[in-house]
Amino acid sequence: MKKNLPLLLALAALLLLGVLRYEHFASAYNANAFLRYNSMFMLISVGMAFVIITGGIDLSVGTVAALASVVAALLSPYGTVAAVLGGAVAGLLVGVLNGVIITRLKILPFITTLATSLGAHGIALLLGQNDAVSIAADSSFGAFGQGDFFGMPIPGLVAAAAAIVGWLALRSSRFGRHSLAIGGSEEASRLMGLNVDRTLIAVYAVSGLLAGLAGVILAAQFGAGQPNEGGGWELFAISAVVLGGTLLTGGEGSIAMTIAGVLLLGLVFNLLNFENGLGFVSLSAYWQSVIRGVFLLLVIVLQARVVKRHNRKSAA
């Protein structure tokens, strides 16, 4: 918990700043819009957290989301269910492919997912014929991204459901415990008799599936499948996971803290919009990435110090 203090403090400070400084920050409208937009990042970050907990990395989530958005848009004339399922299955397939290449061919996750990222982008461009694919005008598919359910944005609910299931799975399911064990020591897990390959394939499949869902939301929200979207999403997700205190060496991690990381990165953007709205200073959108980088740096430096002190204590 102590290791996560910097992140929680930063999050609380930003929230406080927002509530005190901007009149409409704590409004239902803002919370709604915020969740709607950041739901996609929550989904991919939950998947990324699982992958990183096993000691791997998934660079393909961004282009997988783009691919899924194109698939969903192409299937939207056949109904909402077909579009959502199609996009999710497209993501799942790429995820399974990642897992199979990593476990069977024994190629590093970094290289594998870098390659499948290129491949998924290529297929998305081929399917979309190098252009955005509009969703069917008469379908209700758009509601999946734009609609509300009991006053809550549907994509936000999807993301929240994924986060809760992921949180429970990591804490108390066999799958979650196996993931943690493999990240701690793959060799030891194998010797203990865990089916390491099957768990790893499942982990990458989950990451692909969630990326696929993010892509479906992308298509529904913006009314089109976008083959060229998703650039840099994987690094957004990785930074959210890192902010959440998950080490990239694997073996430990937290879904709740990952979500806190997503909220922090999202809040920076949200607050910047409000600040510009006040009109005192006009901070260009470019400051957004600088500020995000500074937050990442701050949390990393603080975490490094906490970890160092912790190590010194346990060594003594």
């Binding site: 970094f110 870098l114 390659a115 290129l118 461009l125 690094l235 990435s289 600088v290 990442l296």
Partner: protein, 331 residues
């Protein structure tokens, strides 16, 4: 090339293992050369107008920035690290250069426009190296900071606007020709030769490979591993800065949103296809050049035969997996 291999093996832990591994690895790097030659022969036979100076120049100039960034990436990968911030370093250097030579006329302006941006990029490397060596942050995470913030810094410097210019003296680095060969291509070959020499003939090169092979053991042997890693990150960032200057010179404009976008992944792909393991302890500078050329030539071949760029991406993915798989089985 062969010397580089032998030299790499000289640091292998057990002499007995080194002998057998050497014989195998010799084939491993030769295979990349064979693949490249096979692709050349295929193109000579089946691609129209392939045998022309223009085709060669086009293909070579396409890979210049990737190879120059890839050289630095090879050094960092050899230490067992990775540098995701090279694209951001390119953008920063590309943003600074035009501001200097557009406001400072004369040869001094041009000279400073080369020196200052590369130094600024090197400073990014110092920052990365500081995080990696001092705070013991994992390289992916450490360089992620500048990957996110660096391009933003470049955009803030230029206010996000595109700087167009026409400055032949500066752009000579990219557009100049020596005996019909573009200067940037010569520069690329010289840098590859120099760094291949550094890796296999200098103390720094040896320290680099040993540090990547087993950092703990290297440290206990008295090798200044922190300084070696720091230097690798600085060189990587400075080379990226140079690549940024070439990139803006080719385009006669500098746009912080675009310069060096995605180059980190291209460079890592070239390094991997070139036979350098991402686990560290190996550095094939020549292999990185060949890796970049294989990827570029593949794309050219597919385009020349009417296969769309999008499909070429899928083939590129397959090539990366296949190349790394084949190298893996060798070891």
């Amino acid at each position: 090339m062969t010397d580089e291999l032998i030299r790499n093996d000289a640091v292998a832990p057990a002499p007995v293992a080194a002998v057998t591994v050497k014989a195998r690895r010799r084939i491993a790097i030769q295979r990349e050369i064979v693949v490249l030659l096979a692709m050349l022969v295929f193109n000579l036979l089946f691609t129209q107008h392939f045998w022309s100076v223009q085709t060669f120049n086009v293909n070579l100039t396409q890979v210049v920035t990737i190879v120059i960034v890839g050289i630095g990436m090879t050094l960092v990968v050899a230490t067992g690290g990775i540098d995701l911030s090279v694209g951001a370093s390119m953008a920063i250097s590309g943003a600074i250069a035009p501001m200097i030579f557009m406001h400072l006329a004369g040869p001094w302006g041009i000279a400073l426009a080369f020196v200052v941006p590369v130094l600024a990029a090197a400073l990014c490397g110092v920052f990365n190296g500081w995080l990696v060596t001092r705070l013991a942050v994992q390289p992916i995470v450490a360089t992620l900071v500048l990957f996110i913030a660096g391009r933003g810094i470049a955009q803030v410097i230029t206010d996000g606007s595109l700087q167009a210019f026409d400055m032949p003296a500066f752009q000579w680095i990219a557009l100049g020709k020596v005996g019909g060969v573009p200067f940037q291509v010569l520069l690329m070959f010289v840098l590859v030769a120099v760094f291949a020499w550094i890796v296999r003939k200098t103390l720094f090169g040896q320290f680099l490979l040993v540090t990547g092979g087993n950092e703990r053991a290297a440290y206990l042997c008295g090798i200044p591993t922190a300084r070696v890693k720091m230097l690798a990150y600085i060189l990587c960032a400075a080379l990226a800065g140079l690549a940024g200057l070439i990139s803006i010179s080719v385009n006669s404009s500098s746009d912080a949103n675009v310069v060096g976008l995605g180059v980190e992944l291209d460079a890592i792909a070239a390094v991997a296809v070139g036979g350098t393991s991402l686990m560290g302890g190996k550095a094939y500078i020549g292999g990185t050049l060949i890796g970049a050329l294989i990827i570029q030539l593949l794309r050219y071949t597919l385009l020349a035969h009417g296969i769309p760029d999008a499909a070429a991406l899928v083939v590129k993915a397959a090539i990366i997996i296949a190349a790394v798989y084949v190298q893996r089985r060798q070891r």
